[in-house]
């Protein structure tokens, strides 16, 4: 079909290359010593750490090994769970631990010990200790008679103090600032390496490895959000949560979409949202020359009027903020179909006739149209292309 703009591939040369941490052969393991890690920490630009150490020097503060938590095997009956310190028990969480129980994965219980008493107030690990109690009571622990389940000794790390506020702070620290949150990339990496290096063929590991291969084959590389070495390199992808639930065939479409149209860019969340919807909401098969031509036109629109998917995401977000304020009375965070909705509306305004996803019909309420909330300068540019097209016809 005759479309007034065409897709122009980028010729920008890529200078940085991704160091793919997951491209490994069996028996290829990376290890670092604590000394290696310390060298990284001691770099002069890690000013925050140097300042913190300097502050300790100024205050004359130092620490003793004796202040570290003590370690002891404690009978379960001596452990108390204070409901005003720990969270409510989550039975479903206990169920999950019991279902997949592996004794090698059990952590010590953290507790505060009352001075001169064998009473331990658990500050972290209530689900662990209840799980162990349940297994012992169910006669599933070889060394324990089921009726003596509360005599079973568990590993406890404790601090002795009568300051209950310490216990409260300890819980908050362990579950808040003191715990580094696990990035979805870390889960993905563990699954992929378990499959690739350790030959563990669990279904979820095989699926993660399959998705990793799909990405790599299209020049897309999942990385950790704070990966200093690879951050910002075209083809890197940090939205691991987005690919976790996507079916392999949809992911294949998405990474091929990136490879064909946006390989000189980082894989943007906005781009992933658009390509996912173009696959999942398509009215026609997505592997035909007609659909490919439609995709050329869609991406030509993104490049000509919005520069790239990341900028389109920002523009759609701003537009949706104004639109939702007028329609719903309050600005809402951007709807996941907003960016594609705008692009499809532009496609139809430019005379596109392909059977587009029904998403084009949405975001048009109370006499308001999301399209009208994009920047006037962009609409002006679109109108000029429409006018030029009519003039030349």
């Amino acid at each position: 079909m005759n479309f007034p703009i065409e897709w122009v591939p980028s010729t920008t040369k890529q200078t940085r290359k991704v160091v793919n941490q997951l491209d490994r052969d069996p028996n290829e393991f990376y290890v670092k010593t604590i000394a290696d890690r310390l060298k990284e920490v001691n770099k002069p630009n890690n000013q925050g750490i140097h300042d913190a150490v300097e502050d300790y020097y100024k205050l004359g503060t130092s620490f003793s090994i004796k202040q570290l938590p003590q370690h002891k095997m404690v009978p379960i009956k001596n452990i108390l769970i204070d409901e005003d310190i720990q969270r409510e028990m989550d039975t479903m969480h206990i169920t999950n631990i019991v279902k997949g129980f592996d004794p090698r994965r059990v952590n010590p219980i953290f507790a505060v010990k009352e001075p001169n008493k064998e009473v331990y107030h658990c500050t972290d690990g209530q689900h662990t200790v209840v799980t162990l109690a349940k297994l012992a009571q169910a006669d599933l622990i070889d060394e324990v008679e089921h009726e003596d389940w509360d005599e079973m000794e568990v590993d406890v790390l404790y601090v002795e103090t009568d300051d209950r506020s310490f216990a409260r702070e300890h819980f908050a620290f362990i579950n808040g600032v003191g715990k580094k949150k696990i990035d979805e990339y870390d889960n993905h990496k563990q699954r992929v390496l378990s499959y690739r290096l350790d030959n563990n063929n669990k279904q979820e590991y095989a699926l993660a490895a399959d998705k990793q291969t799909i990405c790599e084959d299209a020049g897309v590389y999942p990385i950790k959000a704070d990966d200093q070495q690879n951050s910002g390199i075209p083809g890197t992808l940090t939205h691991l949560n987005a690919i976790k639930t996507i079916k392999p065939e949809c992911l294949t479409f998405m990474v091929n979409f990136h490879d064909k149209y946006w390989k000189s860019e980082v894989v943007d969340a906005g781009e992933m949202g658009i390509s996912r919807l173009l696959y999942q909401k398509a009215n026609t098969p997505t592997d035909t020359p007609e659909y490919e031509e439609f995709l050329d036109h869609i991406n030509a629109i993104i490049k000509t009027f919005f520069t790239n998917p990341a900028q389109l995401r920002t523009i759609a977000s701003d537009a949706y903020s104004g639109y939702s304020k007028d329609v719903f009375g309050a600005s809402k965070s951007v709807h996941d179909t907003a960016a594609l909705n705008i692009v499809l509306k532009v496609y139809q305004k430019l005379g596109g006739t392909f059977s587009v996803p029904d998403i084009v019909l949405s975001h048009k309420d109370n006499g308001k149209d999301l399209y009208n909330y994009i920047s006037p300068s962009i609409k002006k540019k679109i109108n000029k292309v429409i006018k030029d097209g009519k003039d030349s016809a």
Partner: protein, 148 residues
């Protein structure tokens, strides 16, 4: 108060006169931005080059520079990188200009232009400048040159 949404922006290259540090940034009013640099450094400053274009193109260029030259960016506190390049990497204004020009040509971004040679470097912090959005929009060919 509603924030004013500008449809065009400037991207500038700066090498500070007092520390010789190379940097870049985005501004809606380059004259005022240069004045800020002068006031903060207590020294005369100039923008080695100034690009002008649609907001989405200029913002994308800024992201591109940040990403492409990420390893060279100054990192003072170990947690975030600045829009300045560490002098130890010996990056030049010319190299940064080439990087930007190549991206504009390669993407391509036909609506982004840079100052015509007679107007660069931009140093109009002390007097009324001709380099204003009104003038550039009215007569782009007089003040700006196409890239590629």
């Amino acid at each position: 108060m509603e924030k004013i949404q500008h449809s065009t922006r400037f991207l500038y290259i700066i090498q500070t006169s007092h520390s010789n540090t190379l940097g870049f940034g985005v501004a809606t009013n380059p004259q005022r931005r240069l004045q800020d640099y002068v006031a903060h450094s207590a020294a005369k400053q100039e923008f080695y080059q100034l690009y002008y274009g649609p907001k989405s193109d200029i913002d994308a260029l800024e992201t591109y520079i940040k990403n492409e030259w990420m390893p060279y960016r100054l990192d003072i506190n170990g947690s975030w990188k600045l829009e300045w390049f560490d002098p130890k990497h010996k990056k030049s204004c010319q190299a940064l200009e080439q990087l930007i020009d190549d991206k504009i040509k390669g993407h391509p971004m036909p609506d982004v232009r840079k100052l015509a040679d007679i107007y660069a470097p931009f140093k109009n912090y002390y007097s009324k400048s001709d380099i204003t959005k009104v003038n550039l929009d009215h007569d782009p060919d007089k003040y700006l040159q196409k890239i590629g």
